[in-house]
């Protein structure tokens, strides 16, 4: 067992981890390591390679503003192109040297004496960091759902996030379980290949049309020659999506307009009244993730496709039995049933001050301060943390704000030689009281069941506001919200003019508490 010491340990080499790495390099910090359990970068986009996989946010917006790509081939790119963009970022910013592939993190523990995170992997290696960044991603883990009899099925079982590219669907009897964001992309592709495709739906989603287009050559040339034009186009798309919050985050007359647009899309594409009824959601637009597709409804109406809305009673050796008493037999079952989203725990044990375990504190739902920090776990930063999910805009816009916040905070830790930077529990509590109060008025908390909510209906996933609001709060690194503790070896003056030295808590540390008047550090 060996140890490696860095200023920052990043866990995960997906969009968030690599974005953090780029910004660290740009800030002058090259003393970090990225731990990646897979053998290549890309995270969610490396894992989700099912046929039809694509982003449902325009590529111009679903990319980093600090790593623009002028060559997107379509309005909404497929997974292969997005993965290509991620690979290109690694090359362009020289990130490969920071990545440790096949490094599966099994635990992270804060060492209070020397203020470092000890991150251990399953090969026994320990990585020490003055700060740690959890960039493991909310959509990183996928497993087959717990459906009665699933183990008895003798045919092939494929999860959408673990696609088997060697399986030939041509002429096969195929079942797809699930009708969420992945399913509406998979189904049109499989319908073209399968002899018989049966789609099992629990509750229908709301589908809006996709305004996809092939990017003209002149646009690519223009974007490459004058990046300012691409930034302007990106800005325009940002504000279009931002305005959608008015209908998708809160129930307003615009919500009704979105529902009508989705309803018109359904009526235009589906003629049969009963099928239309089966595909009509009972919840407000935005309550569950909106689905974007032009070819999902037509695929369901192909002669070789059938939609089943009966509850699944059991999976049998040969197929699926539903509660109408009928069995349908299949060669393969595709599970488009989503991800094991960490709403109430952590992907591996995270131990903070005094041996506290984060998963135990999050048993009823995750909470953090500004989605980034959790009190009692100093120097630990989350990307896509609790209450950071967007319902209407690009996740990468949110991620950029998180990354910049993290880069500033980690710089503060090294520049001021801090032993720990821990968010105050009262500040975190007050922040979450406010967040939960605001969430009450959102579409996500309007009564439907979704992956945003825990079984108890707690929403620890979504941010109740505009992307602009979210970015603004992260633009402000307010030191008064933290307890900053300096290393015993450091000069107290490093922590700021208004710091007050109090009695040491640990053998070799002194605690520096900020007064309420301390000037916030800004960008």
């Amino acid at each position: 067992m060996s140890e490696e010491t860095h200023s920052v340990v990043i866990i995960g080499a997906g969009f968030a981890g690599l974005g953090t790495a780029i910004r660290l390099v740009q800030s002058g910090n090259e003393d970090f390591v990225i731990l990646e359990r897979g053998d290549r970068v890309g995270g969610t986009w490396r894992d989700n390679t099912y046929p039809g996989a694509a982003c449902d946010i325009p590529s111009l917006l679903y990319s980093y503003s600090f790593a623009l790509n002028p060559r997107w081939s379509r309005g909404y790119s497929g997974s292969a192109e997005i993965l290509g963009y991620i690979d290109e970022m690694v090359e362009r910013f020289g990130l490969a040297r920071f990545i440790r592939f096949n490094t599966n993190v099994t635990s992270a523990q804060f060492r209070e004496d020397d203020g470092v995170w000890a991150v251990t992997s399953d090969d026994g290696q320990t990585y020490l960091g003055r700060a740690a960044v959890m960039a493991a991603g909310p959509l990183a883990n996928a497993s087959l759902p717990k459906i009665r009899g699933i183990d008895t099925f003798t045919g092939a079982k494929i999860h959408s996030a673990r696609w088997d590219h060697d399986y030939d669907f041509a002429g096969k009897r195929v079942a797809v379980i699930g009708t969420g964001a992945s399913a509406v992309q998979i189904i049109p592709e499989l319908a073209k290949q399968a002899a018989q495709l049966t789609v099992y739906q629990r509750t229908p989603g709301r589908v809006i049309p996709r305004t996809d287009y092939r990017t003209p050559g002149w646009t690519k040339q223009l974007f490459a020659a004058a990046p300012i034009t691409q930034r302007a186009a990106r800005e325009g798309l940002f504000w279009v999506h931002e305005s959608m919050a008015l209908g998708m985050v809160w129930s307003t007359p615009l919500t009704r307009i979105i529902e009508r647009a989705a309803g018109a899309h359904l009526r235009r594409q589906v003629r049969d009244p009963w099928l239309r009824r089966q595909l009509t959601p009972d919840f407000r637009a935005g309550c569950k993730r909106m689905l974007v597709s032009n070819d999902y409804y037509p695929a369901l109406q192909r002669a070789n496709t059938k939609l089943i809305t009966w509850p699944i009673a059991t999976i049998s050796a040969d197929g699926i039995r539903t509660s109408d008493g009928i069995e349908r037999q299949f060669d393969v079952i595709v599970f488009a049933t989503g991800f094991d989203i960490t709403k109430t725990g952590t992907p591996f044990p995270i131990t903070g001050l005094g041996g506290r375990i984060l998963a135990e504190e999050w048993t009823r739902g995750a909470e953090a301060y500004k989605s980034i920090n959790v009190s009692g776990y100093p120097n630990l930063f989350f990307t896509f943390g609790p209450n950071s999910g967007p319902g209407h805009n690009s996740a990468l816009v949110y991620m950029e704000s998180q990354i910049d916040y993290i880069v500033r905070a980690t710089k503060l830790i090294t520049d001021r030689d801090l032993l720990s930077m821990d968010v105050r529990p009262d500040v975190q509590r007050a922040y979450n009281v406010q967040i939960q109060k605001r969430l009450k008025n959102t579409t996500w908390n309007s009564g439907c069941r979704s992956w945003y909510l825990t079984d108890d209906g707690y929403n620890g996933a979504m941010y109740p506001g505009f992307a602009t609001q979210y970015a603004r709060q992260l633009g402000d690194l307010r030191l008064t919200d933290y307890v900053l503790t300096a290393h015993a070896r450091s000069n107290t003056g490093n922590t700021g003019a208004n710091d007050r030295v109090s009695r040491p808590r640990h053998r070799n540390v002194r605690t520096l508490e900020r007064t309420r008047h301390a000037a916030p550090v800004r960008r």
């Binding site: 009665r148 002429g171 096969k172 009897r173 002899a195 018989q196 049966t198 049969d272 009244p273 009963w274 099928l275 009824r277 009972d282 059938k306 009966w310 509850p311 009673a313 059991t314 049998s316 040969d318 197929g319 039995r321 539903t322 509660s323 109408d324 008493g325 009928i326 069995e327 349908r328 037999q329 299949f330 060669d331 009564g447 439907c448 069941r449």
Partner: protein
């Protein structure tokens, strides 16, 4: 004691069965007597469609349910009624009552019920379907199915109806719990809902559809030899269970249905002059007034394994 609907949902999930669980070729099909056969055929054909119509009723209730748990339960019940219809169809096939692959023709009152359900059911208050459905289920469970068990000696028939009865008893437990919940609403709300939402053209048309449908079924089974006493017993059960709960008694639609059920089971009641003339009139409704049969109506099957997914299809 109040029923725990969450626990009931789990229980329902655990008690699912499939047509494939039954050996449809097991001996005993010949126990249907030649005398029984024509009456039984006509009765089973109606029963299949009544179950199917009941299924559609639960589909509407799933949309009207005030909680996700209840919506999930109604989604199961929707499917279970369909399963009952499928199983009864499979029995008809076993007894040689199907003409090739063709499903039996629904009678004119069933067609009316289909039209009504498709047009109005999703917009009815929960209390209307929430009262009508338990009433029909009590009649089905308490009178008709017991009658079948007594009259038909085929062991497969018994096996099927034991399963159906077990499902129906769970349906009734939930139905009466929901009536209780509905009845516990404030009286003012109950009255507003009864008068404002219930007395709609949709409901009035529903009444005109419901009266002859029920009487046609009633007459048919009495003609088959079912004693009226059994119907009394079944209806009394509806009343006894309902009267036990103060909440249920406060539901106006329950009171109306109870009063109506009393008239239906009493052959001598003048109500039958009206109801039977409505049956007579409905027989004279030309088929072309009905729109195309909705696609949900064509989902019935007697095949335990859906034909399009059988191995040879690939």
């Amino acid at each position: 004691m109040a029923l725990d609907l969450d626990a009931m949902l789990v229980k329902i999930g655990e008690r699912q069965w499939a047509l494939a669980d039954i050996d449809w070729d097991a001996p005993g099909a010949d126990k249907i007597t030649a005398e029984q056969w024509p009456g039984l055929k006509a009765f089973m054909a109606d029963l299949v469609w009544i179950e199917n119509v009941g299924a559609r009723g639960f589909a509407a209730m799933a949309k009207l349910a005030p909680t996700e748990t209840l919506a999930d339960i109604y989604r199961y019940f929707h499917a279970e009624e369909q399963r009952h219809a499928n199983a009864e169809l499979a029995l008809m096939r076993r007894w040689g009552m199907l003409d090739g692959d063709d499903l039996p023709e629904p009678n004119v009152n069933i067609r009316m019920a289909i039209e009504w359900l498709d047009r109005f059911a999703d917009d009815m208050p929960l209390s209307v379907l929430g009262t009508v459905i338990p009433m029909l289920e009590v009649a089905l469970d308490g009178a008709l199915l017991k009658f079948l068990m007594d009259e038909v000696k085929d062991p497969v028939c018994h096996q099927v109806f034991e399963k159906i009865n077990a499902d129906e008893s769970r349906h009734l437990a939930v139905d009466f719990q929901v009536l209780e919940i509905l009845g516990n609403a404030r009286l003012r709300k109950l009255l507003i809902e009864s008068v404002g939402k219930t007395l709609t053209p949709g409901l009035l048309i529903g009444v005109l559809m419901y009266i002859p449908l029920l009487n046609r079924m009633r007459n048919k089974i009495v003609d088959m030899g079912l004693s009226e006493e059994r119907l009394y017993v079944a209806m009394n059960r509806f009343k006894n269970v309902g009267e036990r709960s103060p909440g249920t008694r406060r539901v106006p639609t329950y009171q109306v249905l109870k009063w109506h059920a009393d008239m239906v089971v009493n052959r001598k009641h003048p109500y039958h002059l009206l109801a039977n003339s409505m049956v007579w009139m409905s027989d004279r409704v030309p088929a072309k007034v009905f729109g195309p049969v909705p696609t949900w109506f064509k989902e019935l099957t007697y095949e335990p394994v859906a034909r399009e997914t059988l191995e040879q299809a690939s």
